[in-house]
Symmetry: C2
Subunit: 338 residues, 2 copies
């Protein structure tokens, strides 16, 4: 039997909310008998669902933050949005985790403001599993912090390592700094300073990586500022998309190519599955006081299921406490150093 | 008849130098009757070739800069390297352009130090054509300047626009700032400041782009700092490589898949050709006083031919003068503004 966990779910997050979110929650409840969900959203959405499902409670939110709204502003103004209500449930200890497939920016802002930072962590960071045909790797930060100080990246490295170990089963993850050359003197001033600090403070730091090392899975964890990470992530997604589009064009050119392509469909399906982001349920925001998983806006019901399930796994893994312990020890070491 | 042009070529640049370089020069001389080449390298390499070819002169260089050497240091120490000798020929006016498939860092350093910056240009920048299945686009900077001030990117935008217009036939190129969101308030402090300056100073500025817009060819020219550009470029190359590797694995799984794959080979060859970097001959270093093209280390003889030919086209296009005129006008405008 697993530890009992309660996850606050934003019923209104995602392109196909609320129907896909409700379907995903139903799957998650069926899969995990030790899971409770508090579903946050308009009364007419969350109350009937809660009434119809054991282990699901409704938390009424009268507002919704749209995908196009300015994240920080929307969080400030809409105190009763489904995202804010869900984060407050974690803050108040009624839930241990928060899941949403809504606006990434709004989730980041709400989780940081409402749930709060872990003591000693300067900036919470967004990590994401990057699915590669070889094996999945983890990248952090992919967009929470466009401007970074070197010390932030040391914290990203540690937090992402703990996630990789606890959630991705990587026993001793090899951490690399995303840079523009393998030598330690390469890169921007930030990258050069980071390299030195990572070498001193992160035992499993393995050196610099370049853009090509990500999909080649030459390391387990890639750390970078959120600007670089976001560009890299979207470049990977965009490149894969354009190549698959071009290949589809080739395969459907004529009857002959269609027949030829038919022989490859099994392999192509496996390849597409191997790089399907839905499988990983979403991106964890690391460094906040509670589990926080932000799903793709395009998540299917299975994506929602996986996101809620991973939120529960984050809680059960003890990851939050492990990050808090490290941050505390790090802070103490810095202070004794001063 | 074209304008007569002399290009100084580094005979020792590239993984397969000098044989591939000599073969490429032979092709370039045959293709362009108004081209002269000054071939720079060891006497036993360049003298026999020059003796055997009309319109080719030898310039003996007693040193070679290896791919593994520290670029700036190697350029400083090896005053008689083939790269330095070639750059001096441009400086002295004996050649109008420099081409090498050698160490990118050493070429950048030598061209900047020896050929010199165009007056008013703060930092020369490396541009590169990114081949996409849709159409080629231009990115600048891809690695010459890891740390940038906003004003640099305005210059990159203008220089890259002039290159796109003169060399890639884009009449009125749409310039985008590589960023992490489409709204102008998005991104790092650098990106936000750049956005404002680009809007004010670059008439063909079209707004922010994200990583996925590059391969989708949603804009013609992408400007960014050299750190971001280098990560983006290598991520594209690495992602394409891993996907093609995975597809090759699928196609060669069994006799049936091999037969099926055979029907698609024509289309795949076209796709691979469309994203073959050799076709574009190399990356132009923009902002130095003379044409400067840096080829891929892995360039074939055809890659070398294209690189030398593009160097000549840069000279004939009047691009250097056009950049110099703009920089002068820009400087005057700034001074009158102060």
């Amino acid at each position: 039997m697993s530890e009992h966990v309660t996850i606050a779910v934003d019923a209104m997050g995602g392109d196909n909310a609320p129907s896909v979110v409700l379907a995903g929650c139903e799957l998650a409840l069926a899969q995990d008998p030790d899971l409770d969900i508090i579903l946050c959203g308009p009364a007419d959405v969350v109350e009937p669902f809660a009434a119809a499902h054991e282990r699901c409670e409704a938390a009424v939110a009268t507002q919704v933050i749209g995908m196009g709204e300015h994240p920080a502003e929307a969080v400030r103004k809409k105190k009763d949005s489904s995202i804010a209500v869900a984060c407050r449930l974690v803050k108040e200890g009624r839930a241990q985790g928060f899941y949403s497939a809504g606006s990434t920016g709004a989730c980041l802002a709400a989780a940081t403001l409402i749930m709060g930072r872990i003591k000693g962590i300067s900036r919470p960071a967004l990590a994401t599993v990057i699915p590669s045909p070889i094996r999945p790797v983890l990248m952090c930060d992919v967009g929470a912090n466009a401007d970074c100080k070197p010390q932030y990246l040391v914290q990203f490295a540690q937090m992402a390592s703990v996630y990789a170990k606890n959630l991705l089963g990587m026993e001793n993850p090899r951490v690399a700094l995303l840079n523009i050359g393998s030598e330690e003197t390469k890169g921007s001033q930030l990258a050069q300073e980071c390299h030195q600090m990572l070498k001193e403070q992160i035992p499993n730091f393995a050196g610099n990586a370049e853009g090509g090392d990500v999909m080649a899975a030459n390391f387990d964890v890639f750390v970078c500022d959120g600007f670089t990470g976001n560009v890299c992530l979207k470049t990977i997604e965009g490149t894969a998309k354009q190549i698959f589009k071009a290949i589809k064009g080739i395969m459907t050119q004529s009857l002959v190519t269609k027949l030829g392509a038919a022989t490859l469909m099994g392999g192509f399906k496996d390849l597409k599955d191997s790089i399907d982001p839905d499988k990983f349920g979403g991106a964890p925001l690391l460094g906040v006081k509670g589990a926080c998983i932000i799903g793709h806006g395009s998540s299917s019901d299975e994506g929602i299921l996986n996101g809620v399930a991973i939120s529960a796994r984050v809680v059960r893994s003890g990851l939050i406490q492990e990050i808090a312990d490290w941050a505390l020890a790090q802070k103490a070491a810095e202070e004794s150093h001063e």
